[in-house]
Point group: C2
Chain length 448, copies 2
């Protein structure tokens, strides 16, 4: 039996970041990270294993930084947790007595429930080295690939795979892909970018059946269409993995994720939970929500780490803003906070500000890309509550400035006062910077 | 005599942005912009006229957006302003009665005071179409070019010119170039980048004399060295152009710029001043300071425009943070707030946080660039008061997130809680995002 200060269960980005942050802040505390996987995949880059990244071994979250700090990594499975004497046992017979426990048990793919979904070569994006290795090898041999689900994971896989010349089809049940993150006008741009690279996109369309003999051969759609398929990749969302939390009697939220407080403590104050397995209040409404993004998961992790032994009361957790970016073809798309359609659903009294500009000035400088920005502003408060942006690679950091505006509840007039660095080669002109122009557009509409 | 609501004097980015913002916010007000120049140069891109931008006419601030809005552009010189009856007269005999006056009279280059500085082919960066056209044409014919002053303008000119194969030398009196904006370790990186492209850099070095017969032939340095020169470009700073303000009896600040309040009103409440001609409090210390950057000038302009007719009291002007970026070779450098050396001079009790990461994850993805970030944190408040960053092109927008942290007086623990969007192709990993890593580094040092 080994006495340790902290046991973290789960080695994905949330568990990893908890260990990294906690050991940096409390070098004298002993921290054990228990995970099932020998090698942990970098989850965000899984879509690029299909073509760009040549071997799966190049996409492994490095253990070195944790080991150097003195985190004890145990590759093993937790078999029992006794809360009264705080003892964790593992399948290899290890026993630990802990002071704090952190659950970072992640998520599982939502399963497709149609006839034939159990056929050979119907795959999910499961963050498991051996499973994914097989998926990738099978895809390499395949020619006709159907991706079910046009969220960002499906779109990114298609983006990477379309460079191989294979025949790729995305099937999405909503009117457009990416609608969880973007409004229609941005979603259409992303679809057009993929279509121009040869990807087939079927929207407004359900999969009714998967057919094949020894393995998948075709996918039948609600439109009556059949699509030839050597491989099907199902990517229709994830749900929190709360089996362990349930077995510990922890409170599960209304959406099915682990309930945590601002400091990331579960209903048992010695147990924390972070990442995809928890549900949290939305920044705008305070309603419980699932956001399974690295931006939120690693924020959880750092908050939990800071609050592991003494609370940083009042803890400044402020709710999820869901900051996110993706790259489709040559375009970078990013969003944070509410989309316009979400604002409508939630009944917000809002106004929209738009702007467009080339990301160089003068615009004749070589390599310029158009940035298109949309901001959603609450009318009663004049605060920016959401933003969507598309452009070149700089947009990926731009969105974090937009997130900062939302988190700090900045108003349109604050945005117009903002000092923003610009440069001829790198940004729109300071006299027409997209953020100011969009704020001005919204302010004009508010004054009407 | 024409009655108008607003007269803006000066057509650079500050005057331009004042007109653009004011006419958007108050479409019913008549706005006249009076400027000397037929064509206004985009000032930030002047360094790229020496090679990249093929003709000076491609670097003109477009009048169209102002004209479309209904701003009246008058190319003329103001000859007299009578404050008692509010009448502006011009050299072409025009007369306007105004309600509000905005001075955007900009800056003039600081002159080099050594023997020979009046020789032919010794030039300044004067934002005048015909003057600069001649400079550029003369430089095109020249082979040996000496740039006096290693600030960002001098560095950018060298960066653009070194691609032509000409012999370029920068002379800087301080121990390194760019020290007004960066600490030594960043300045050295910028110098190395230019040196690797063939630029000669002489630091710790004064120009004692310029020699030549009919025109410049050589530059003599305090080290005793002579440098051959067909052309000399002097770029040793700018000073506010306050001639008009002085003639109007407006209060001039201790540094020689026009004094303005938070709303950008001068000592005469009907007269506003914006851009390079004013001095303003620094965000960190509140001390009066000159920051002649587009980020600050256009912020002035938008603040003035919002407050032209009714004050947005309390006006949320918060002081200059001097957000700024530049591109030297393949590297983007950016900074905001205090450098470490400035913090030392001001007597701040500070700690520094460092981080480095590749801007892609996994780092084997093609095209990755190293980002190096340094943050300066006030010990007593734990607030970030400055940041310097170098990396690929995304750094140019990243610095605006850093500016937002400073403006919102965010603490290290707030930064660790931050949700930051990341993407394999576009940013460091979410488990090692440079901002979080630097904050963690600073927090560890604070705890010691």
């Amino acid at each position: 039996m080994k006495k340790v200060d902290v046991i973290i269960i789960g080695g994905g980005p949330a568990g990893y970041t908890t260990a990294l942050t906690a050991k940096n802040l409390y070098p004298d505390k002993s921290i054990v990270l228990i995970r099932r996987e020998e090698k942990v995949l970098i989850p965000c880059a899984i879509p690029y294993l299909f073509n760009t990244i040549k071997t799966i071994d190049q996409n492994i979250l490095p253990d070195d930084p944790l080991i150097k700090l003195g985190v004890d990594i145990v590759v093993d499975e937790v078999t029992s947790i006794n809360l009264s004497n705080r003892i964790v046992k593992t399948s290899k017979g290890l026993e630990f007595e802990f002071n704090r426990l952190v659950l970072a048990t992640g998520s599982k793919p939502v399963e497709l429930k149609v006839d034939g979904s159990n056929l050979k070569n119907v795959f999910y994006i499961i963050k498991d080295y051996n499973y994914l290795k097989n998926v990738i090898e099978t895809v390499k041999e395949a020619n006709d690939i159907v991706i079910i689900g046009g969220g960002f994971v499906g779109m990114e896989i298609a983006d990477d795979l379309c460079k191989t010349g294979k025949n790729i089809t995305i099937v999405e049940m909503l009117p457009h892909c990416l609608l969880r993150n973007f409004d229609e006008e941005f979603a259409i741009l992303a679809e057009e970018e993929l279509k121009s690279r040869g990807v087939n996109i079927k929207t407004n369309c359900l999969v009714t059946k998967i057919e094949g003999n020894s393995k998948v051969e075709k996918v039948k759609l609600s439109t009556g269409e059949d699509i030839k398929a050597d491989v099907v990749i199902v990517s229709i969302g994830v749900r929190p993995n709360v089996d362990l939390a349930k077995s510990l009697g922890l409170k599960i939220g209304s959406l099915g994720g682990i309930e945590v407080d601002y400091c990331r403590r579960t209903s048992n104050p010695l147990i924390y939970a972070v990442g995809d397995c928890v549900e949290r209040p939305d920044f705008i409404t305070g309603k419980s929500t699932f956001v399974q993004l690295a931006s939120v998961a690693t924020s959880d992790a750092r908050i939990a780490a800071m609050n592991l032994f003494t609370l940083s009361a009042p803890c400044k957790y402020v709710g999820s803003i869901g900051a996110f970016s993706t790259k489709i073809g040559d375009l970078t798309f990013a969003c944070v906070g509410f989309t316009e359609s979400r604002a409508k659903i939630e009944g917000v009294d809002y106004v929209v500000g738009y702007s467009e500009a080339i990301d160089k000035h003068p615009t004749i400088l070589p390599g310029g890309k158009k940035i298109k920005l949309k901001i959603i502003v609450s009318k009663p408060t004049q605060e920016i509550i959401g933003a969507e942006i598309v452009g070149g690679s700089t947009v990926a950091e731009y969105v974090n400035t937009l997130g900062m505006l939302i988190l700090n509840r900045m108003k349109l007039t604050d945005i117009l006062s903002l000092q923003v660095a610009t440069h001829p080669w790198l940004t729109p002109s300071p006299v027409a910077y997209t953020l100011h122009t969009a704020a001005l557009d919204a302010l004009k509409k508010l004054k009407k």
